[in-house]
Symmetry: C2
């Protein structure tokens, strides 16, 4: 994408409910400078935009990048690429919809493109990460929720309305499925997010009687990190929680393959740090469940982008495709 | 697509296990002339190609179309768009793989493109049917099996290896799912194909005790047409079979929507003739199960192409995109 750009740098902004991280990035994916502000500090969106402008201008000036910014890319929850608007149902301190792309473009005098966080991650992976050179892959982000960004024929899939790629909300359990934050039941996200792993832990502790180090913890406060720590220490029940989680994810990836026959899935986020504990059951369940014609053909990879930089990098990659 | 073509006609060939239909088509989708031969008549693929050549040449000459054919498009089971080859696992009288595109191009001296039947149907729908002007839609063919052709950003989705769009093999029942022809269990195709409807009929008759006209038939020979006839005649159990089938299909379409957020689904094939018997439960289950952000936004349409012409039309549309 970078070859159409007329200026040497882009700015990436990763807007989360708690923090907003931002950075200046060059065409090779080097983060020249970065910083962050608290998203929730301002009750008025315009004050937030003002602080963002002040802080970004500061690092732009300090790095001799004034006049050298090709575009601004933002990854934000429920951000619509087509409309430039953050839609309803997000954990942000301001009323929605928010015309974010327009607000930023007006304030900075630099064209801005926005998309949701998982799409930004996919673009980052395609531009700078393990998916470089791939025309067909699916990014799965395993965080508090499960997000996805789909690339087909070298293009991000936005769908007819900008909301494509909600694979965290494919139904994996049609009977007695868990409640999901989206208001439905049985979604992939209710099982394979960090929160889902903690829910599985509580469920296993409830219905089973075998020993586990997890029983020493306050069940209501168990996190996926606790499950990881116990599993690494050899706890059998904790390991089985990862097997359960990985199996559901592998079954889901097998179904997704029938859709776009991707060259690879790229997994990203905290859960992937559990390594083989999660990846082995994912790969096993994938190969067991996928159609014969796809067996042995689809790579399941872990993102190699540095987690601290990845969100900003992904968002920044959008800054190369702005239209003035 | 037609605007890149240099000649006024294309030839479409629909290659099925029993019959091969073919026709000359103009840029407006008029079938100028058509005919068919028996696929199974020749034990040698070359004899089959020879007969096809003789018969197509006959209608080309009779319609003053010599030298006016832009390309040949073929829809065939397991036909790979990228390689031009018919892969394994198909119900054809010759050994696979079959380098069909090359055989036809060599014999006819006209460039040939092949794809699987469901993709051909999607291209036909986009070029001449209800999906004209749509950039994002999903074609679902409900015949002996369930096929699909996916269009995103105005392009057919072939995937990295040419095998994308196998949505008939997404798993809808993970526990005690029916055996599917693909060797796995619980696939959409095992429930929502014509064969699936007949299987549901036998299952319902087995486990239920209520009256039904279907009980007057030989259970082993019940077809989806029998279920339709009984439902139209007011048979309650037959109607419930369509509700069961339509509900599963609607749930599947709701999941597919999270992938590419299509503007529409276009349903095609025998089962759609059952009209509201099947379409009402499909639409109800879709709206009930789809994520909130998609509710009320996605059209579920029935193909308007004449069934007798549709397969040839769909295949022919590929003839506009040949590269010489």
């Amino acid at each position: 994408m970078a070859n159409l750009a007329t200026k040497p740098y882009v700015i990436g902004i990763d807007m989360g409910g708690t923090n907003t991280a931002f950075g200046i990035v060059d065409a090779r994916g080097n983060v020249i400078a970065s910083d962050s502000i608290k998203t929730g500090k301002h009750s008025d969106i315009n004050d937030y935009i003002d602080e963002l402008y002040t802080e970004i201008t500061r690092i732009v000036e300090a790095n001799d990048a004034v006049g050298k910014i090709n575009g601004i890319g933002i990854g934000a929850p429920n951000a619509n690429y087509y409309t430039g608007i953050i839609e309803d149902g997000v954990n942000l301190p301001w009323p929605t919809p928010i015309p974010l792309a327009e607000l930023i473009t007006d304030k900075f005098g630099i064209p801005c493109v926005i998309t949701n966080d998982a799409n930004a991650a996919a673009i980052g992976e395609m531009t700078y990460g393990v998916a470089r050179g791939m025309k067909d892959f699916i990014m799965i982000t395993l965080g508090t929720g499960v997000g996805s960004g789909i690339v087909i024929n070298g293009q991000m899939v936005y769908g007819h309305d900008g909301f494509a790629g909600e694979l965290g909300h494919v139904v994996m359990k049609r009977n007695n499925g868990r409640m999901c934050g989206c208001g439905r039941t049985g979604c992939l996200e209710a099982y394979c997010s960090a929160t889902g792993v903690a829910r599985t832990a509580r469920e296993f502790l409830d219905i089973r009687t075998d020993d586990s180090k997890l029983r020493e913890l306050d069940a209501d406060k168990i996190t996926s990190k606790d499950v990881y720590d116990c599993a690494v220490a050899g706890d059998k029940l904790a390991k089985e929680i990862f097997e359960y989680t990985g199996t559901i994810l592998g079954e889901a990836l097998a179904d997704f393959t029938t859709f776009s026959s991707p060259e690879a899935f790229v997994l990203f986020g905290g859960l992937t740090k559990s390594g083989d504990l999660i990846m082995k059951p994912v790969r096993d369940a994938f190969e067991k469940n996928v159609m014969k014609v796809f067996k042995g053909k689809v790579k399941i990879l872990i993102s190699e982008l540095k987690e601290s930089d990845a969100a900003v990098l992904g968002a920044s990659a959008l800054g190369w495709e702005v239209k003035e």
